[in-house]
């Protein structure tokens, strides 16, 4: 789950990190009220994606009128596929310098990594590409977290020696997001040093591990409903499915990320355009298949569905029963190609045939078949 900026900042504040005074506004009036309370403010779009500034989602307001106008312009705006539901109005900071600090998972090292750079601000990715030595790194021990001397070393390495002590204190607080909230990314960019010498989180990004949601029901309850995004992805998430929306018109259901991606590749190779990626995972039961099909059929663009299941832990007979029940319950009339093999495949194929669904033979053939059927507009 990717938290919105104000949510991430609430979490960081609870860990003891200083954040600027700020107020959430859902309409222009509330933004005007925020100005009255805070003075000059930054009006910031709340979307769980980077690049808001460049997309025009952050505006400075020096009067009530400006605050009102900024909110008017930003709320409802589309930023990289996310409709802005609300803005965060935050007291403008007296910035002396901007630092980058963030934790993320380093897949290669199979560890968390701390990244620290004196070159904070928007173009940190460019810094990483052009002068990687400007970013100091530390892989903290995952059982005890970073130690003081390690953090001092990183600060000196990043050329931030004069700030070593306040930075170490801040990084230790930020690190708590990992053990306490299962953070996969916890990033402050920029970390602002004010002219008064205070260290304040100018922005915050926090992504928590969905696999650990059972440990953090509180986060889900507090913030889950606010994270608007693609309606099908939201619905799929409610039903516990791994689902990504795409632009095309052929619904895809597969088990296992690799097979699902492989199926997308095959459909595109056959000249079709996938409408989604939906991985029903291992151990998929009839109910899960029905859920997946239901979500895909919610999308009016979908003209046909390809189900590609190779069973290991997923049993063919269960998949087949799920497909038949789902098709019947959902009164589905669009073309449906089911390619299935693996454990109990004979039983599964038999069930499909008895119910008038022809099982596909190979993935490639099935992909060609569904592309052909959707082109012909069967069922429409």
């Amino acid at each position: 789950m990717k938290l919105l900026e104000y949510q991430a900042k609430e979490v960081l504040a609870s860990l003891g990190i200083t954040i600027p005074p700020g107020v959430v506004a859902r309409n222009p009036d509330e933004a005007a009220t925020a100005f009255a309370k805070l003075g000059p403010i930054a009006v910031k779009a709340q979307v769980p994606v980077g690049g808001r500034g460049k997309a025009g989602g952050i505006k400075l307001a020096r009067s009530e009128d400006e605050a009102r106008r900024a909110a008017e312009q930003i709320i409802g705006m589309d930023i990289k596929g996310f409709k802005v539901p609300l803005v965060y109005c935050e007291a403008a900071l007296d910035i002396a310098r901007e630092i980058y600090v963030g934790f993320t998972v380093d897949r290669d090292a199979r560890a968390n990594v701390l990244l620290l750079s004196a070159k904070g601000g928007m173009d940190i990715e460019q810094v990483a590409e052009e002068s990687p030595e400007a970013i100091a790194r530390l892989h903290p021990n995952p059982w005890r977290g970073p130690l003081d001397f390690e953090l001092a070393q990183v600060a000196y390495e990043a050329g931030l020696g004069e700030l070593a002590r306040p930075l170490a204190a801040l990084v230790k607080k930020l690190y708590r997001a990992i053990p306490d909230y299962d953070a996969l990314t916890a990033e402050i960019n920029p970390l602002v040093v004010t002219r008064a010498g205070d260290v304040i989180a100018g922005d915050a990004k926090l992504e928590v591990d969905d696999n650990a949601a059972w440990r953090h029901r509180d986060l889900e309850e507090r913030y889950g409903s606010l994270l608007e995004g693609d309606p099908y992805e939201v619905e799929a998430k409610k039903r516990g499915l791994t689902y990504v929306s795409l632009d095309g018109d052929i619904g895809i259901i597969g088990n296992g990320a690799g097979l699902c991606m492989g199926t997308l590749d095959l459909v595109q190779r056959a000249g079709g355009k996938p409408a989604n990626f939906c991985d029903i995972g291992g151990g998929a039961k009839a109910e899960v298949v029905e859920n997946a099909l239901a979500v895909i059929l919610m999308n009016p663009k979908v003209k046909g569905v390809l189900i590609n299941v190779f069973g290991g832990i997923t049993r063919g007979d269960e998949v087949a029963k799920g497909v038949v029940t789902a098709r019947d319950n959902l009164k589905m009339r669009l073309p449906l190609v089911v390619r299935m093999s693996g454990t109990r495949e004979e039983e599964g194929r038999k069930i499909l045939k008895e119910n008038g669904i022809e099982p596909g033979v190979s993935g490639w053939e099935a992909a060609q078949k569904i592309v052909e059927l959707t082109r012909a507009g069967v069922g429409r």
Binding site: V105, V113, D182, W214, G254, G258, G281, G312
Partner: protein, 286 residues
């Protein structure tokens, strides 16, 4: 010959009394895997599927001399189960469980440094099978046959697809290893390729990768130094859109690595043939 697992490996199943654990233990037994015990806290002293059940892995190892384990326990308990197996002296730990929090696995990886003899496969993987001899996990044996192709894959279901095609074409497999698709996992492509390289009976190699991470690139770097294996690689996800990423930290870490193109180019540079679809693999391997 084979790598990691053969008919003499003494296997326990952690979570043997669960639905999936039980179902797949029977499949493992049917192939001839030497399943010597199971564990299930609170069920110690009973028997299940013809083998004794113990409360702890330590008890099971002491009583049976087990040296390998298949883990089928639910995600909230899986990380602990892996560490329990390592601490009890198990040297081949295969964790099938999916959905383990990444931070749990990061701690597990650090813990395992204290047990250099323990090899972890997975988590979130289909396990491994040495056809005709033994398996730990969920790879269906009827799609495999004994032979000389080493198969290593990050995907579960694509592995079955390819194994099935190889078997149908009369190309048997020495060992099939599903290393799992999680970002933080045990054995890597490179580790497994190294093992196949040392196994005299393995003459061919199939690698099935996915977008994300740079494990495929690392394996390609190893193969580029020279290999006696005739190899074919396949990467799934070449048309997948870039993830809706947030923050910059991930991009700083991965740079340009991780894309299907980067992986395919790395393999081509190493002299490994790259298949466009899984259907092409068999023909290219001949």
């Amino acid at each position: 010959m084979s790598i990691l697992l053969d008919a003499s490996t003494r296997v326990i199943v952690q979570g043997i009394t669960g639905r999936e654990g039980g179902f797949h233990t029977e499949q493992m037994q049917e192939l001839g895997t030497k399943v010597v015990a199971g564990t299930s806290p609170g069920r110690g002293g009973t028997a299940h599927l013809g083998v004794p059940v113990f409360n702890t892995v330590a008890d099971a190892v002491k009583a049976t001399g087990a040296n390998a384990s298949g883990i089928f326990v639910p995600a909230p308990f899986a990380a602990d189960a892996i560490m329990e197996a390592a601490a009890a002296g198990i040297t081949l730990i295969v964790c099938i469980t999916e959905g383990i929090p990444i931070q749990d696995m990061i701690r597990v990886k650090d813990f395992l440094r204290g047990y250099p003899g323990a090899r972890l496969i997975g988590a979130n993987c289909p396990g491994l099978i040495t056809p005709g001899q033994a398996k730990i996990g969920i790879i269906p044996q009827r799609i495999t046959r004994p032979g000389q192709v080493g198969l290593v894959s990050r995907s579960g279901t694509l592995t079955y697809e390819v194994a099935s095609a190889l078997s149908a074409a009369g190309m048997g497999q020495s060992t099939i290893v599903g290393i799992g698709g999680d970002p933080v996992l045990g054995l890597t492509f490179r580790d497994v390729v190294e093992l196949f390289e040392k196994d005299p009976e393995t003459t061919h190699l199939v690698l099935i990768g996915e977008i994300g991470g740079s494990d495929e690139e690392h394996a390609a770097e190893l193969l580029a130094r020279g290999s006696r294996l005739k190899a074919v690689a396949f990467i799934s996800g070449r048309t997948a859109p870039e993830g809706k990423r947030m923050g910059h930290a991930g991009a700083i870490i991965s740079g340009n690595r991780g894309t299907a193109r980067s992986k395919e180019e790395a393999f081509q540079k190493a002299g490994v043939a790259v298949a466009e679809t899984t259907d092409d693999i068999v023909g290219m391997l001949r």
